[in-house]
Amino acid sequence: MLPLPSRPALWLVFPGLILVWVYAALYISDAAIRGHWVAAMSNAALFLLFSCGLAALSAAIEGSRDRSGKLGDLAVVRSSWHIAAQRLWPSLLAGATVQTVGTLFLASAAFGAPGRPPWELPVAYVAIVFFHASLGYALGRFLPAIAAIPLSMLSSYGWLGFTWSVPYFPLRHLAGPALASCCGPASELNPLAVWAPIAFSIPAGVLLLALVALNPPVGRAERARVGRRRARAAMAVASGLVACLAVVTACSLFLARNVGAFAYQDRPESELECSGQRPRICLFPEQLASSDPRPVLAAAFSRLEAAGMPLFMAVNAGVGDSNPTDAIAVVAVGIRSSEAELIHAAASAYTAPLTGIDCGATDYRPWLRAYGILSAWLELEASKGVVAPERVRAGVARDTLDDLDHLQARPLGEQREWIRSALESLKRCEAVSPDDAP
């Protein structure tokens, strides 16, 4: 057993933990992960940037020590696998520790949430860290230390960062950080996005270690030392290993081919918990865990019905698209949403068909002006008696407020007519002015 104080992993683990803590404090929003196991643990994929870099750097230093000690040239009693394991475990453990601490730190925001922690995510993280440790060790064994140590950092960060820069999506799911794109309450992890990095990282790491264990004689002097026949055989096996690496990469890309840009998919509607009749409101268990937002939503829809808007018969939490014709509304309800957020979600259900509408090359400004008035009016009506109108108006642009006041100066019947006709006109890409007669 090599003395622990001389292992670089021991000294690198502390800066790694500090970086993870700073990164989590700066960028990971508590609101996005609170009360949701999958969201909390998948966001920890961002910490791979530190845990993998640490594992690769530490393993490269270990590998370069073996190289400078001419380990590959010596006749040793222990097997190559035993030596590699002895060298790699601190790097792997340090990387896994940093990743696990980061994951637990985020997972603490989900304690008490319904469902189970997704155990497959930590497995994927450890597999990815293993691949980076193997890559670093291979670089350390094959290249001079002066090149291997910086290249281990560049290749680790480059692989994780490069995959975000290319428009070929399966590649990003092999690297791992793309898992951080998962999940809202209405979505779940795509299993292929979790298994693709595992299917790539473990075999690729093992193949890299096999290549190191083989120690192929690349240089002329090495080929002369081992003999031409043995050198040729070793090179043939090494070529086979490289070919296997290519096959593993191709198979993993094939596995991730249908995942798309993000690592999530819609949750099955069978998981929805429904209550009420007019409207029937269905939400996911995470959205109901802290307090039931369904009465607030039902009341908001009732107020909008009283204001002359058509009543939705069914309200879903983010599964499918809003369809006022079929009286189905899709609302974006977060976990532990405030009353104001729930009312905003209810009002937005009417304007959802206008989101992302393509009106060609027309001037969008009049359209956006009418859209602003429509949204603000709906939100004010939905929040009557619950949220102070000043609070709602505070979130509206100044120009839109002037138009809104102009509209609200009219009799209530005319306002409702204008809103209904504006909704239809905007769907047809026709802008309406608050001065237009309904």
Partner: protein, 204 residues
Amino acid sequence: MRWWLAAHKALVVLVLVFGTSATALATARLNLALPALSGSMPFAPVPLVAVLATLATVIVAAGLSSGDEAIVRAAARNAHALNAAYLFGAFAVVGLTSAMALPLGVPVEHAWLLLRDTAGCLALLVVGRTLALGRYSATVPTGYLLASSIFGRTSGGLPAWWAWPLQRGEEADLPVLILSAAAAVVLLVECGRRGRAIALGGQR
């Protein structure tokens, strides 16, 4: 001299630096997403040119250190002068590649960006060698690139004045020029010291 060049793998380094520079010029518009702890985004777009200039510097560092250090120290020649010439030669290869790429349609700004980033990285390599970091000397330019990516943004998301690998504009020219000039002075001083030592040894 021929032995010295062969021992320092000059030909291999020359070909690799040429290949890296050509790739950098061909992909100069691309950015690589690296982690960031400053600014407003968890990832900072780092120009690929800066990453490839760092890679070229690592290759040069590997070539420089590939000779037998004990023999080099005991050599009658001024090894520091040879090392300096090696560094300037590598930079000249990058310059030559850039000059060759201009008639092929590569914009002057991209060629200048590559030259500037290579000069900065080679200067940082000199810093690493001067600090006697040995086999860790090439981690200085690599570490600087990663530190720029992680900490080199202002709260507005713009690159900080010192984080020249992130900058594409002229504002980064001055810090790199100062750094390169300082590295050149260090190299010249080292050459002069070694030359004096050899001369004194010869008198004895």
